[in-house]
Amino acid sequence: MTLLEVNDLHVTYAGDPAVEAVRGVSFTLEEGETLGIVGESGCGKTTLAQAVMGALPDNGEITGGEIIFDGQDITHLSNRQRREIRWERMSMISQSAMNSLDPVYRVKDQIREAIQEHRDVSDAEAYERSRELMELVGLDPDRVEDYPHQLSGGMRQRVIIAMSLALDPDLIIADEPTTALDVIIQEQILYRIKELQRELGNSMVMVTHDISVVAETCDSMVVMYGGELMEAGNVDEIFNNAHHPYTLGLQNAFPSVEGEKRDLTSIPGSPPDLSEPLEGCPFASRCPFAAPECEEKVPVREPVDGHRVRCHEPVPFEQIRDRSGEDETWLSQNKV
């Protein structure tokens, strides 16, 4: 059953100039499934997550499309209605989890606050629950008595995870949950998130720039670039059968400790300016395969069932896949 459905979502940040950060993205998330949203900085992935959570910054606004959560259109809910959904049904582990705990309150009080805001439970019950949650995320329950500064970054991240699970929500949005952490802690956290999700059966949206994280933790994925969806589908499908030059470029730029060592490619150039309207493919200016038609509107194709690509495919994709593994392909483009 579909838990979340995002249709042609547009998000704009007011300002001078206004920035349209998300430009018509659609995807669905099934119950119990994990969806990865990947892209580089400025691609709109965090905005997308915030829009779903209803946590856009003050100057951000949904300017088009709809978000349907569990059959309910939550695109334009009032604050009050939002609050009922938030945390209760949908929680978030944000990018800056390290700083998401209020420094002047003890951990138990912050967990309790989240619980009591939504449920009518006694202090004692809330306290018990907070200890349970701590154990759940692999922390010593006694540390609920600590202040945030007494915990390490990884521990704080776990506390945030504990909080996000406090009300057993249907959907957890994890926005770059491990960016600031080193690999060992990252692994611990990701593993814990996955385990808990598996146990509790929630759905999850994992926003990250790291395709290896997506590969290891997600069922399906959306690749974003310049506020638009480039490619989406089942993780296996995308990794093994990517069509989009950007997706391929990203995959080839990623180092791995597995297999034989290979040279990495890079994608020269920089992302498009999102304050300007763009007709065609946002990646066209950096794409070595770009053709004049890429300046025009690009439809989403579905080469394989459930696999969506936004690309004209100016050259046959087999060729794209082969050539995108070579650094020269990318470099040559710049030397027009």
Binding site: D182, I184, A215, Q251, P255, D327
Partner: protein, 343 residues
């Protein structure tokens, strides 16, 4: 560059940078009253007896969790921090016994590239001023030419387009290239790169890594590349040292180390690196928890409390010679390498 009588020994054919028993301990601040009543000062042992030698033209990787002392080691090597023990030899000359002129020459020949491209350039300097500064400091002639050359080397071409820019007008990748140009304008012989790409977008990482790699080769420099991510180390380094709590626990040729890590910590580190392969699902971490406070270190092997393979013998501190391959290239400070391999 003119060589003066007092200059460093450029004919030295040993490792360009060689450290032995290097220590950097930070006294932990204690209260004045505490000191008055005669309490002993505790030390944070950021670097605690490191031996390492880096040859010209070679890139040494240094990998470890945050807080393991790898950045401190990097800063000590290039003289940003004074070591509290051990020796540092540059071109065979002991750093602490260098004359002023030699020290100045040392300064000119070791450089560093920092992690954060947004903070490693002075926001008030133009690219030209920023790259010119080292030349001014060392009073080197033909400055304009050298600046152009450095920019070209860093692949900021054409240089005219960049010299007038200020940092906020540049992208992250461009800034990192400016940092590289600044480091290179003095034509150094040794360079430390501390996570130079970790804050960059994936699509530009490779270009910076490749550039660094190329420059190390071309200029025949020695380099120390610091990272917590073995997949990046793998792209960059000939040899790699794994650091844990101020000590090097494993050292070896990078490929060999990645294919067959010996120290349990290196194994865990390698295992933790996510792999861009959907078949490879996340597995249970080999390591729980975080490294202990480097003030009160455990007895014996530092890693013992977290080590899944710890045994009785680990109460004795292992040196890097605890395990060594026949060719001496690959070594690990662990008593139980063979046992674990068999398991």
């Amino acid at each position: 560059m003119a060589i003066t009588e007092q200059s460093l020994n450029w004919d030295y054919d040993g490792p360009i940078m060689e450290v032995a028993g290097l220590e950097k301990h930070f006294p932990q601040s204690t209260g004045i009253v505490h000191q008055l009543i005669g309490g002993d000062t505790k030390h944070v042992k950021a670097v605690d007896g490191v031996d390492m030698a880096i040859e010209s033209g070679e890139t040494m990787g240094l990998v470890g969790e945050s807080g393991c002392g790898k950045s401190t080691l990097g800063e000590v090597l290039i003289g940003l921090q004074e070591p509290t023990g051990g020796s540092i030899k540059f071109l065979g000359t002991e750093l602490s016994s260098m004359s002023d002129a030699q020290h100045k020459e040392f300064r000119r020949n070791v450089q560093m590239i920092f992690q954060d491209p947004y903070e490693s350039l002075n926001p008030r300097f133009s690219v030209e001023q920023w790259i010119r500064e080292p030349l001014e400091v060392h009073d080197i002639d033909n400055q304009d030419e050298r600046i152009y050359e450095a920019l070209e080397r860093a692949e900021l071409t054409p240089p005219e387009n960049y010299i007038g820019e200020h940092p906020h007008e540049l992208s992250g990748g461009e800034r990192q290239r400016v940092s590289i140009a600044r480091a290179l304008v003095l034509e150094p012989k040794f360079i430390v790169a501390d996570e130079p790409v970790s804050m960059l977008d994936v699509s530009v990482r490779a270009s910076i890594l490749n550039l660094l790699r190329k420059l190390v080769d071309e200029l025949d420099m020695g380099a120390l590349y610091i990272s917590h991510d073995l997949s990046l180390i793998r792209q960059m380094c000939d040899r790699t040292s794994v650091m844990y709590l101020g000590k090097v626990v494993e050292r070896g040729p990078t490929e060999r180390l990645i294919k067959g890590p010996k120290h349990p910590y290196a194994r865990a580190l390698l295992d933790a690196v996510p792999v861009p392969n959907p078949e490879h699902n996340i597995s249970e971490p080999q390591l729980e928890g975080e490294p202990p406070d480097p003030v009160d270190l455990p007895e014996g092997c530092n890693f013992r409390p977290r080590c899944p393979f710890a045994a009785e013998e680990c109460f004795e501190e292992p040196g890097l010679d605890a395990y060594e391959t026949a060719d001496g290239e690959h070594a690990a400070a662990c008593w139980r390498v063979e046992t674990v391999d068999e398991m």
